[in-house]
Amino acid sequence: MTAAIEVQDLSKRFRIYREKPTSLKQRLLAGRTRAEDFWALRDVSFDVAEGEFLALIGHNGSGKSTLLKVIAGILRPTQGLVRQRGRMAGLLELGAGFHPELTGRENVYLNASFLGLSRRETDAVYDDIVAFAELGDFMETAVKFYSSGMLVRLGFACAVHVDPEVILIDEVLAVGDEAFQGRCLDRVRTFQKEGRTIVLVTHALDMARQLSDRAVMLDHGLVHAVGSPDEVVREMRLTILRHDLEFAREGGTREVEILGGSLLRGHDPLAGALAPGDCVTLQVDLKANEPVDDPVVSFALHDAANNYVFGSDTAQQGVGLGWLDGKRRVRFQLGPVPFTGGQYWVTVGVHSRDNQRVYHVQDQRYSFEVRQIEGRKDQAYVPVTAEVEDL
């Protein structure tokens, strides 16, 4: 398979001026300007095969949009090179390439000419564009009166009707309403089937997982992970968590201290991922620095997207710790886990019975992973037995 886009050792440096000297006088007076180099991209290399759908993900400021602009030819690489084949259409920003004073119709022709279409070719697709954008009544209105949704509809309609071989999309789809987004996704899928190459920059990790053939994750301008969308998205989510963990609260008054928590299967430390329906034990070791009466140990589970999933505590389970002086071990036996694929994070805490005093809490310190059952899209795992009997 040939590559539609080749990115080789691509680096992009931005100069950050304290105060950007844009006039001659400032230039002359400043002598050598104090510029700081900022590398938005560093030695980025990857190929996009013809007909491939590539998702670009990463944090804000990781260089995704810069990379897309370099691929689109808007920015010039500082080092390295980008090779690209075929007609390319980009949807880089809302209303990009539209002139506010011109009508929708005029802008379609202008935009199409930027994308390399002749007037006659544009005539041929004009009606389709209007129909797709659902702007029939507004085509003779200046686009400065358009809403952002109308702009993105027109922009997307233009980009997909110019028969591009490569299409670059940067997060703009999020603007449209759900119905339009649905049609955009349909269109994108059609493109995929027709063997066109698509590069999508997105923060919607689930969309990336569902649509793309491959994903690239950027982190501070470096390629952090390349591979199957599932793996890269998981890596992305873990990175988000790890990033958060640095700020994670580990707090409390420390009358009681959590010596450590661990996840066990039976009595052995957890190794590898769980299967849905496996049982897991959360074990928490405590040490009282001062004698405390009847503390409560609690835990909470969060999924990879940091949504609260489930939690419980010793009081709820009808267990008391009594007068605590010295060390003690608490074990929570979790029944068959109803979770499907993903990473889960465990928060452990110990506090007074009336919840007024938190002795110690460790926020999302421990984690376990549950495998996705191959080829299934289950949201939860429920043990099922099936029976058949004659009537």
Binding site: T22, A72, L75, M88, G90, A96, E106, L110, F114, G116
Partner: protein
């Protein structure tokens, strides 16, 4: 794409204005009225002042509008440059295209005026024996305009001072070019000076002086033509225009390369 962009610029230019393209005709008419007045007050005006003035003013307008608008063409289209890929040279070329549309429109009316006047009034005759200078002067004008516009449009992205500088420079340049006054008068005064040839040559270092003289010699044929026009034979003037055109071609090659060198960074600089 260039045509589309020119069309866009034209539309934007006249959107919301009642008179629309009439403005582009009104501008030289007002200039003519003002300078006719000034020239009459000061005296020494060419006999057929409207033809003399407009012959020089219309090409000057093409040049100055291209330059001043071209200088901001990339900046004004920052939203395009930053978000859409297209050949950047289209932008200054489109501004020149817009100025060219004005020029063609104005010149058509102007030439029609000369022709109709000759046909209707016995006092005026249609003299065509120097009209061949017109296309030569036009080519020189266009090459020179494109060359300089390319340069200012790319430099202005980085050095915004240029916008202001160009305004002043064009003012000085306008008065150094024999548009309002006659180059023949300049020559007559220069001859009286102690270094006549030196001064005269310095004056003719201005390519626009040649270009404007070319247009004037092509169109101006009143009885005082000898005192008003550049004191050169049509052949020599054509040769001079040829040199201007060739030099502009070389300049264009240089500024084109400067433009391409800088255009890769436009999206960042804006």
């Amino acid at each position: 794409m260039l045509l589309n962009l020119v069309r866009k610029e034209l539309k934007v230019k006249y959107t919301g204005s009642v008179l629309g393209a009439v403005w582009s005709l009104l501008n030289p008419v007002v200039f003519l009225a003002v300078f006719s007045f000034v020239a009459t007050v000061l005296g020494g005006a060419a006999q057929d002042y409207p033809v003399f003035l407009l012959a020089g003013l219309l090409p000057w307008n093409l040049f100055s509008v291209s330059l001043s608008q071209g200088a901001v063409s990339v900046i004004m289209n920052a939203n395009l440059v930053k978000k859409v890929y297209f050949p950047r040279e289209i932008l200054p070329l489109a501004t020149i295209g817009v100025a060219l549309v004005d020029f063609v429109l104005q010149s058509a009316v102007f030439l029609l005026f000369i022709a109709l006047r000759a046909a209707l009034f016995p006092g005026f005759a249609l003299v065509l024996h120097t009209i061949w200078l017109y296309p030569i002067a036009f080519v020189a004008l266009l090459l020179f305009t494109v060359a300089v516009t390319f340069w200012v449009s790319s430099m202005n992205v980085r050095y915004r001072d240029l916008t202001h500088l160009i305004g002043l420079a064009l003012l000085v340049w306008f008065w150094l070019t024999p548009i309002v006054y006659a180059i023949g008068v300049v020559h007559a005064k220069v001859v009286l000076h102690s270094h006549p040839m030196l001064l005269w040559r310095v004056y003719l270092l201005n390519p626009m002086a040649w270009i404007v003289s070319g247009f004037q010699t092509a169109l101006y044929h009143s009885s005082d033509a000898h005192d008003v026009l550049i004191p050169l034979s049509a052949g020599k003037l054509a040769a001079g225009l040829g040199v201007v055109a060739a030099a502009s071609g070389l300049l264009l090659y240089g500024t084109w390369r400067v433009f391409f060198g800088l255009s890769g960074d436009f999206a960042e600089e804006l």
